[in-house]
C-alpha cells in the first residue's frame, strides 16, 4: 500500500485492523464517529467482532470481557464518553488485561462542545477511575504518528498486560493527511495469554479474571506488583522528541496538535532572531521527566502550551524542579490557537510566568 490520503479517525480504524484487532466495542459520540463506522463495515467483513454497545459503560465492559477471553480489543470515544468508561478502565488495569482505548478529545467540562481540545490530560494521565493504576498514554501529533503508534500499541498492551490510551484531539481525528500504513513497527516478544478464560479444556487449572482482593496484605502485594510493572514501563517506554535544542533562549513544552502549532511559532520566532526549542512529550504517561535534565544552560525559561487550562503544567513544574521560570499559554473551549499567539506568549514571557 503506497501513500494514501486519510482522515484521522478513518486512519485510526485502519491502523487498528493492521494492528491485528479482533474486536471493537463502542458507542457513538462526536468527533470520533468515523472510527466505529469504518470498523463496523471492515471488522464484520473480516469475520471479526463489532458491537455497538448501549452505552460507553457497557462498551468498556465488553472490552473487559473480550480482553479477559484473550482477544485483541479496542474501544474509542470522546471526552464525556471516556469519563463513563473510567469504571471499566480501572477494572481492566486492576485485572491486568491488555486493550487499546482511543480518546478523541473535545472541549469540556460537562457536555462542553465538539471542537478540538486537550482538556482531558488529567483524565488520561491521572485517571477518573478508582485506585492506584496507570494507563500507557500516547499523544501523537500527526496522523502518520497516530497510525504507527496504534499499530504498535496492541503489542505494547499485550506485552505489559495493561491498557494503552491513544490521546488525540478532534482536529487530528477529523483532518486529512497523506500517510503510509506499511511502516514497520518494532517487534516485541509477546508472551502467551495463559490468563485467558477460554475454558479449562484449553489450559491447566482454572483461569480467573479478577481485580478483587479482600485481604489487605494481598491487595497491597498486588499494588506493589503493579507499581513494579509501571516502573518497568517508565524505564522502557518513555518517549519524547527534542526539537531545536541547541542553545535555545526559551523552550516550549507542547504535545499533539499544540506541538504542531508550536513548530510554526518556532520558525516565526527564528526569523525574529529568537531561538526557541521544544520538548514534545510523545508519552504523557510515563511523562518524559528526563528530557528536562537535558535543557541547555542558555534557556531563560519554559513555556508550557496546551489547549487546556494548565493540566500538563503540573508535570512540567514537577519535571523542571524549579530550575527555570515556567510560563503558561492555553486556549480552550474548542479554540485552536494560531502560531502568532504562541509567538506573542514568548515575546511576553515574563508576564506569563506561573507564580
Amino acid at each position: 500500500m503506497a501513500k494514501v490520503l486519510m482522515k484521522g479517525n478513518e486512519a485510526i480504524a485502519l491502523a487498528a485492523l493492521k494492528g491485528g484487532i479482533d474486536a471493537f466495542f463502542g458507542y457513538p459520540i462526536t468527533p470520533q464517529n468515523e472510527i466505529p463506522e469504518y470498523l463496523s463495515k471492515h471488522l464484520l467483513a473480516a469475520g471479526k467482532v463489532f458491537v455497538q454497545a448501549e452505552s460507553e459503560v457497557a462498551a468498556i465492559n465488553m472490552v473487559y470481557g473480550a480482553a479477559g477471553a484473550g482477544a485483541r480489543v479496542m474501544t474509542s470515544s470522546s471526552s464525556p464518553g471516556i469519563a463513563l468508561k473510567q469504571e471499566g478502565i480501572s477494572y481492566i488495569a486492576g485485572a491486568e488485561l491488555p486493550c487499546v482505548i482511543v480518546s478523541v478529545m473535545r472541549g469540556g467540562p460537562g457536555l462542553g462542545g465538539i471542537q478540538p481540545s486537550q482538556a482531558d490530560y488529567y483524565q488520561a494521565t491521572r485517571g477518573g477511575g478508582n485506585g492506584d493504576y496507570q494507563l500507557i498514554v500516547y499523544a501523537p501529533e500527526t496522523i502518520q504518528e497516530t497510525i504507527d503508534t496504534l499499530k504498535e500499541s496492541f503489542d505494547i498492551a499485550d506485552y505489559y498486560r495493561n491498557p494503552v490510551l491513544i490521546l488525540v484531539d478532534g482536529l487530528i481525528g477529523q483532518m486529512m493527511e497523506s500517510v503510509d500504513f506499511d511502516k514497520p513497527i518494532r517487534k516485541r516478544f509477546i508472551p502467551e495469554k495463559d490468563y485467558a478464560t477460554t475454558g479449562t479444556d484449553h489450559h491447566p487449572g482454572r483461569n480467573i479474571v479478577n481485580s478483587h482482593y479482600l485481604n489487605p496484605d494481598e491487595l497491597e502485594q498486588h499494588n506493589l506488583h503493579l507499581q513494579k510493572k509501571y516502573q518497568q514501563i517508565k524505564n522502557n517506554e518513555t518517549k519524547f522528541e527534542m526539537i531545536n535544542m541547541e542553545q535555545p533562549d526559551y523552550v516550549i513544552v507542547a504535545y499533539g496538535t499544540m506541538s504542531r502549532i508550536a513548530r510554526s511559532a518556532i520558525e516565526m520566532l527564528e526569523e525574529q532572531g529568537i531561538h526557541v526549542g521544544m520538548i514534545r512529550p510523545i508519552t504523557l504517561w510515563p511523562y518524559p521527566r528526563a528530557a528536562f535534565d537535558q535543557i541547555p544552560k542558555s534557556c531563560k525559561g519554559i513555556l508550557c502550551a496546551e489547549m487546556s487550562m494548565g493540566q500538563m503544567l503540573d508535570d512540567v513544574l514537577i519535571s523542571d524542579r524549579g530550575r527555570h521560570d515556567v510560563a503558561f499559554f492555553g486556549r480552550v473551549g474548542g479554540i485552536v490557537p494560531e502560531p502568532e499567539e504562541i509567538v506573542d506568549a514568548i515575546l511576553h514571557f515574563q508576564e506569563r510566568v506561573v507564580k
Binding site: V57, G65, V73
Partner: protein, 249 residues
C-alpha cells in the same frame, strides 16, 4: 450401594461464603450440576457480579471473570462474541441486575446474546447490609425503607421476568424458586434447559430464581423458605414467561 447424590464436579472445594441456609448455595449447585451433566464445564466461562455472590468466581469449577457492579451482561457479551463456541453465563443478584445493571441486561437480551443469565431475586441487598432492593416487596422493611416499602416513596418491586418476556432477542425466560425440593427440581430443569438452549445457539436465556436471605430478613432458614412461598410468589408469580423454542440460527 450406589451414589444417588453427591457434590457436583461443577463446584470447587472452597467453602461457600454465604450465610447458613442462604439459597445462593442451592442455586450454585443447580448451575454446577447443569454444566456438569451437559458436559460443558471445560468450555464454560462464568461472570461473577457484585454483591453477596461476588466470590462465585471461587466456587464455580470453570473459568470465571469478575464484573463491575451491574456490568456482567456486557462483560459476558465481550466474552461470548470472541468465544462463540464456549458456554458463557452470568450469576447476578437483584441489585446488580435489576437496578444498576438493567441497561446492560436488557440490551444483551435485545441483541439476543447467546448467554445464560442466572438472576437471584431475594428482595433485599444482602452484602451491603439489608438495604432496599428494586425487588423489595411493598411493605417490606429494610434498612433504607424502615417503615416498609411504600410505592409512593420508593417505587414498586420490579418484575424482571415479565419485562424480559417482551424482548425479541430473549429465547427463554422463566421464574422459578427453590423453597422446597419440588420447586428445586423445577428450577434445575429450567437452568439446564437454559444452558441447553445456549449450546443450541438459540439466544438469550434468563432464569429468575426467588431466593432467601434469612439473615437480613431476620428469620430462620426454614421460615425464610416459607416466606418466599407465601409472600414473594404472589408478587413474583412463577412460570415460563417466554420460550421461543425455535432455532436461532
Amino acid at each position: 450401594m450406589e451414589v444417588k447424590y453427591r457434590k457436583s464436579q461443577g463446584l470447587t472445594d472452597k467453602k461457600l461464603s454465604y450465610c447458613p441456609g442462604c439459597t445462593h448455595g442451592i442455586v450454585h449447585k443447580l448451575v454446577a450440576e447443569s454444566l456438569e451433566e451437559l458436559g460443558v464445564l471445560g468450555k464454560s466461562v462464568g461472570v461473577a457480579s457484585v454483591g453477596c455472590s461476588v466470590f462465585s468466581y471461587e466456587f464455580f469449577n470453570c473459568d470465571m471473570q469478575q464484573a463491575p457492579h451491574g456490568r456482567a451482561c456486557a462483560e459476558a457479551t465481550g466474552i461470548k462474541r470472541v468465544l462463540p463456541n464456549n458456554v458463557v453465563f452470568t450469576y447476578q443478584g437483584d441489585g446488580d441486575l435489576a437496578s444498576i445493571g438493567i441497561a446492560e441486561t436488557i440490551h444483551a437480551a435485545n441483541r439476543g446474546e447467546n448467554i445464560t443469565v442466572i438472576f437471584i431475586n431475594n428482595a433485599i441487598y444482602g452484602m451491603t447490609g439489608g438495604q432496599m432492593a428494586p425487588t423489595t416487596l411493598e411493605g417490606q422493611r429494610t434498612t433504607t425503607s424502615q417503615d416498609g416499602r411504600n410505592h409512593l416513596i420508593h417505587g414498586n418491586p420490579i418484575k424482571i421476568s415479565e419485562i424480559f418476556s417482551q424482548i425479541e432477542g430473549a429465547a427463554y425466560v422463566e421464574r422459578v424458586s427453590v423453597y422446597n425440593p419440588k420447586q428445586l427440581m423445577k428450577a434445575k430443569k429450567a437452568i439446564k434447559k437454559a444452558f441447553t438452549y445456549q449450546v443450541e445457539k438459540r439466544g438469550f436465556t434468563l432464569i429468575e430464581v426467588l431466593s432467601s436471605c434469612p439473615v437480613n430478613w431476620g428469620m430462620t432458614p426454614p421460615d425464610a423458605l416459607k416466606w418466599i412461598e407465601e409472600k414473594m410468589t404472589p408478587v413474583f408469580p412463577m412460570g415460563v414467561f417466554k420460550d421461543s423454542g425455535e432455532a436461532h440460527e
